[in-house]
Symmetry: C2
Subunit: 229 residues, 2 copies
C-alpha cells in the first residue's frame, strides 16, 4: 500500500497546493525540494510537474491561493473599518484572525518579503493599500474630530500595525518572546495578541487613555499632587 500522507479526500492539485504552502512556509521556497512536496502528497515528482509545470509556477499558485483567501475577508474588513474604537477593535481582530487562522500565511508573506521584496511590495500596493487608505481617511477624520491623537502619521501608523500583526504571528514564540519561565506558550500567545490590540488602540485613540485614567483605582492616584483640571 502506498502511503498517501495528505488528506486523500481532496483532489491532487489541491493537496499539492496545501503541502507546498506548508513546506514553503516552514523551510522557504529555496529550502524545499519538489521531491519533498510530492512525497508529502504521496506521489512522485514527475506527477507533481504534470499539475504544475515548474517549481516557479507552483510558487505563484501558492501565493495566488493565499491572496484569494485574503480577498474573501476584505469585505468584512471594510465593513469594520468605520470610525470608532469598538469598530476599530473589530477590524484589528479580523485582521489578526486572518493570519492566526493559518499562521503559514504570515510566515509565507514574511519569507517572500525577504526573498522578493519588489514582488511583495507590488502585491501589497495592489491588495492592501486601497483598504489601508480607507483606514487612513477614518484616522484623519478622527483627528479632525478630536478623538484620535493629532500626531499620528496615518500611513506610517497603518503600515506599522500591519507589519506588527504579520510579523508577530510569523515569528511568534521566538523573536519577542521574553516571557518568564512559568508561562505556557499558548497563554503567552494570547497575551501577545491582547497587547498588540491594546498598543494599536492606545496609540491611536485619545478616549482610550482618558477612559483608562478615569477607571484608575488601586493606584494611589496622585490626586493631592497634580490635581487641578
Amino acid at each position: 500500500m502506498p502511503s498517501a500522507k495528505s488528506n486523500p479526500s481532496e483532489d491532487v492539485p489541491t493537496r499539492i497546493l496545501h503541502e507546498a504552502t506548508r513546506l514553503f512556509a516552514a523551510r522557504g521556497f529555496g529550502g524545499t525540494s519538489l521531491s519533498e512536496i510530492s512525497g508529502a502528497v504521496g506521489i512522485r515528482k514527475p506527477s507533481l510537474l504534470y499539475h504544475f509545470p515548474s517549481k516557479e509556477a507552483l510558487r505563484r499558485s501558492v501565493l495566488e491561493n493565499m491572496l484569494s483567501h485574503w480577498n474573501e475577508v476584505v469585505p468584512r474588513l471594510l465593513r469594520a473599518a468605520t470610525s470608532g474604537e469598538d469598530q476599530y477593535d473589530a477590524l484589528l481582530r479580523e485582521t489578526v484572525s486572518f493570519f492566526t487562522a493559518d499562521p503559514d500565511r504570515a510566515r509565507l508573506l514574511v519569507r517572500e518579503a525577504l526573498d522578493r521584496p519588489d514582488e511583495i511590495g507590488a502585491l501589497v500596493q495592489r491588495h492592501v493599500r486601497p483598504w489601508a487608505e480607507v483606514v487612513c481617511e477614518h484616522i484623519r477624520k478622527g483627528q479632525a474630530r478630536g478623538h484620535i491623537h493629532r500626531d499620528v502619521d496615518p500611513e506610517a501608523y497603518v503600515g506599522q500595525m500591519i507589519n506588527l500583526i504579520v510579523s508577530s504571528v510569523a515569528t511568534y514564540a521566538c523573536i519577542g518572546d521574553v516571557a518568564p519561565r512559568g508561562v505556557s506558550a499558548d497563554e503567552m500567545r494570547r497575551r501577545h495578541i491582547l497587547e498588540l490590540c491594546r498598543v494599536a488602540k492606545s496609540s491611536l485613540f485619545i478616549s482610550s487613555a482618558a477612559a483608562e485614567r478615569s477607571r484608575g483605582v488601586g493606584e494611589p492616584k496622585p490626586a493631592s499632587r497634580t490635581t487641578t483640571t
Copy 2:
C-alpha cells in the same frame, strides 16, 4: 589579476564572514551556495572551507559575529533603560539604530527565526530577556507611580516592541509600506521609524497622551498636567 570583489584590506576570514552575512541575509542560508560566497570574496570554494570547516560552521560564525555586536551595545541600552519618557525614547532609538546601522542584522534574525525557531528562541532568552526584564521592572514601577498605563502587559509589550523594531527594519519598504505615490522611500523610512517610536511611547506613558492633548485644538482637556516624577 584576479578580481577580489570584497574589501582587500581585511583578512580573508573576515571578508568571508562579511560576504556570508550579506548573502545569508539577502537570500537565506539554504538559498546561498558556498560558491557564491567564495566568489564574492574572490577565492575558490575549497579555500573557503579551509577557513570555515563547513557551511554550518560558517552559519554559526555569522550568528556569533552578530551577537558580539549586540553585546557591545547592551551596556548603552541598560544605561538608557531608566524610567522616564526621554530615557525610554533614547532606549528605543539605540535599539532601532542597532538594526538600521546594518539592516542585515534584522533580516538575518527574522530568517533564522523562521528557519530555526528553537535555536533563535533560546538565543533571545539568553541575550535579550535579561535586558527585557529590566525594562519590564521599570514599567511596573511606572505603573505603580501612575505615569504608565495600568493595563500594559509588560512582558507582552516589550516583546511586541522588539518584534516591531526588528521586523520593520527587516521587511521595510515592502510589508507595511502603504505610502501614497509622491513619497520617496527614504522619507517614508524616516516616517515609519518616527511613528514606531510614537506608538511605543504613546501606548506606554500616560503623560504622553496628556501632554499631547494639552497641545490639541478643539478638545476640552485638563489644562496643565505635567507629571514630573
